[in-house]
């Protein structure tokens, strides 16, 4: 659709392109759109990766591994910054409000990025599914139903029997998606 329809228009377009080029040269600007230009030179300075937990957990570990590899392959430092607090909400708000230039990234998980928006609708000031863009799922990690050594049940069937025997509120439990559960007896 940008084909010139006749010769005179073609010449006009050629001259126009030349003029635009001269203008760009004069202002030392690139004819590329700003976004494409920033992508071409990205990263030209260190990149921060915010992690919503203290160091040591799975999300921190994968963030650090990817940061180290990106540092090697892109030639700029990718630095992990741990911002724990409020079940990840402190870090979610920090990245959502950071300049949208690629120099502030976030590594989170199914809990911070899909559950918190529902469980903290009243206190989380941003919506992760709206205010963040996904770059990539990195890894999946299997979970277990784990039990302390002292706990009498050695199988799910025994866990269910034990829970029934003790009736409610007898077995203190926790969950990997701690933000999705009720506090206290449920």
């Amino acid at each position: 659709m940008f084909q010139p329809s006749n010769r005179s228009r073609g010449r006009f377009r050629a001259r126009s392109g030349l003029a635009a080029g001269a203008l760009c040269a004069a202002f030392a600007a690139s004819p590329l759109p700003a976004a494409a230009q920033s992508a071409e030179s990205f990263p030209s300075r260190p990149v921060k990766i915010i992690v919503p937990y203290a160091p040591g957990g799975a999300t921190d570990i994968i963030a650090r591994i990817v940061a180290a590899r990106l540092t090697d392959s892109l030639g700029q430092s990718f630095i992990v910054e741990n911002r724990p607090g409020a079940t990840g909400n402190v870090a979610l708000e920090a990245v959502a409000k950071a300049p949208a230039d690629g120099y502030t990234l976030f590594v989170g998980n199914v809990s911070t990025n899909t559950i918190n928006e529902n469980t903290f609708a009243g206190t989380l000031t941003i919506k992760p599914s709206r205010d963040l863009v996904g770059i990539a799922k990195l890894v999946e990690i299997p979970h277990i139903v784990g039990a302390s050594v002292a706990f009498p049940a050695n199988s799910i069937a025994e866990l269910i029997a034990e829970a029934a025997r003790r009736a409610s509120a007898a077995i203190p439990t926790s969950t990997w998606k701690s933000s999705s559960g009720r506090r206290g007896s449920s």
Partner: protein, 158 residues
């Protein structure tokens, strides 16, 4: 855990740990907490050392690392606690060419065989999205489905 309790028809007391696995592990080791849904990469060394028990996994099939531990699916609780992932994000207004460039760099490093192997030893399976758009759509779908589930289960944070 809420999904499991509903499926199994049992009652358990929930003790929230606001800082994830890092705080839950000492609690399980000391028997302060007795049962937990927790990721395997953080707990496998403790299970191997006999300091913690694994009653079931959320994996689609039995794991080579824990051949004697059944999956929740084979016990009749399919679809519970699955798809726990880690992912990378940026502020929504980040220019698409920049997002695409970061995705390309992440894809290059994550698909290297040595990285897959070393992550595998930590029970992490590389599951790279096909594109940033695919991942963003997945996050929106899962946010919606968690919202539906939590509303149906009437679960609220106090």
């Amino acid at each position: 855990m809420e999904k499991f309790k509903r499926a199994a028809g049992i009652e358990l007391t929930h003790v929230p740990y606001k800082d994830g696995a890092a705080k839950m592990i000492p609690s399980l080791l000391s028997d302060e907490t007795q049962v937990a849904f927790i990721n395997l990469s953080s707990t496998l060394p403790h299970i191997r050392a006999g300091r913690m028990k694994a009653l079931a996994t959320t994996a689609p099939a039995r794991l080579p690392e824990l051949p004697d531990v059944p999956t929740l699916a084979e016990l009749g609780y399919a679809g519970i606690g699955t798809n726990a992932w880690q992912g990378m994000f940026a502020p929504a207004a980040t220019p698409k060419p920049v997002v695409d460039k970061i995705y390309g760099a992440v894809a290059t490093v994550l698909t290297k065989p040595d990285l897959r192997d070393s992550l595998g030893k930590q029970m992490m399976t590389v599951e790279l999205s096909k594109s940033p758009q695919e991942f963003t759509a997945l996050v929106r779908r899962e946010t919606q489905s968690w919202g539906d589930f939590l509303r149906e289960a009437k679960i609220k944070i106090e």
